[in-house]
Amino acid sequence: MELAFIIEKFALILVIFLISLTVAAYSTLAERKIAGFLQDRVGPNRAGPGGMFQPLADGLKMFFKEEIIPTDSNKALFILGPSLALFTSFLGSAVIPWGQDIEIAGRQVSLQITDINVGMLYIFGVVSLGVYGIMIGGWASNNKFSLMGAVRAASQSISYEIPMGLSIIALLMATNTLSMKEIAEQQHGINWNFFYQPLGFIIFLICSFAETNRTPFDLPECETELVGGYHTEYSGFKMGAYMFAEYLNMFLASAVMSTLYFGAYNYPGMDWVNELTGPVIGPLIGMAVLMLKIFAFIFLFMWVRWTVPRFRYDQLMNLGWKILIPLAIANIVITGIVITIIDKL
């Protein structure tokens, strides 16, 4: 391993880490602003011009709050819970291809931290790991409400991972690869997977809502029944870590959906733009396009949150097991039939 390689990867990791942090921080502001707009209000507008510094103020507030660790709780696990939630939500961004290769001083620099050939499975694993932070935190609090929130999170996560995995299988059949980079390359121009897997995308989208614990699937923190759900006993920065992890998960889920179904950094007319702007600016424009897609998905997450009320627990389970899983299996069958017909022709 040469030095330049280490430096370029380190720089890339740092940049992506900072981007995820900024996006997650400003998602909290965007959430409140969008909530305001959808309800004919203006949202927070006092901290800085148009409320621009609200995330800073919120973060500072979280730091200076008193942190309470319940005396009856398991202290080590109580601290591990939010740490794990925050940690796992950062992991997934490692396999997202953020853009085409950049050429700097004759070196091909990849805009992906690592291109492992099972990238999709890695994402799947990291996403399902995320629920452990919630489970450990909820259990360690030694509180009935927290425990029930944690149990709900676990069962919901298990139920929705199945249709999510099944929809990925259909995508795998269509693309013949699990590597995120290859999937991104295959969707060159406007050749996006969404047009081949519309049903698969909708199933994946619904499951993403469930996996990130967003409304209408935010039963783990259902305040009408469970006070605060799994984070009832949390305060100060640990509470902030849970909240931040939720927004990071949302960012990651949006990035994954944009990459798998909406053409990652590809956009119509990209070859022409690349020729015009050269091998550095071109891929960066592609990265900006990917970011735009991610922001569109984040907006969708928030839009749904402020429209749809929370599902009842039995409705959630019915939707997962009786609707989404049969649909996902049907999607696999249809994909298989179509692929066979096309191959025979």
Partner: protein, 151 residues
């Protein structure tokens, strides 16, 4: 419910259409410290003790407002006008101390109705919040109108 309805998707899309339309509607927010909501004409706010057209206090300390007050929020101590104070007080008797306990006041407006001298009106703003109970007992320093500017 049939399969299509159990998917919830059509209903969700309908709802999302409604919320999206609300994004472009006029915002109902009033930016409070900069802009204040208009009150109706018969709004009853903080009391003010009026002066007459020559800038003299109208109140003659008859005590009818205190008598009419159902919450017993008004207390006053009367005093006789001395020589040389004719420019300050209109009648020969005036209220040396006039206190309203804003925590007791129910803003019914009966003092306004009882006053024979048209000296008290509830035409002020909302009574502001404070930390201590004693600070809610408003004396003449807060209640009496500003003296008219000499043009």
């Amino acid at each position: 419910m049939n399969f299509w309805e159990r998917l919830y998707l059509p209903a969700i899309f309908q709802g999302m259409g409604i919320t999206f339309r609300h994004m472009f509607k006029k915002k109902e927010t009033i930016f409070y410290p900069e802009v204040e909501r208009e009150f109706s004409e018969n709004w009853r706010g903080m009391h003010s003790l009026k002066r007459d057209e020559e800038g003299r206090e109208r109140c003659t300390a008859c005590g009818l407002c205190a008598l009419s007050c159902p919450a017993e929020a008004i207390t006053m101590i009367a005093a006789e006008r001395q020589k040389g104070e004719e420019a300050l007080y209109r009648e020969e008797k005036y209220a040396a101390v006039y206190e309203i306990n804003m925590l007791r006041c129910i803003f019914c407006g009966l003092c306004e109705e009882a006053c024979p001298k048209e000296a008290i009106y509830l035409d002020g703003p909302i009574v502001p919040a404070d930390y201590l109970r004693k600070d809610f007992i408003y004396g003449k320093d807060k209640l009496v109108e500003e003296p008219m500017k000499v043009q």
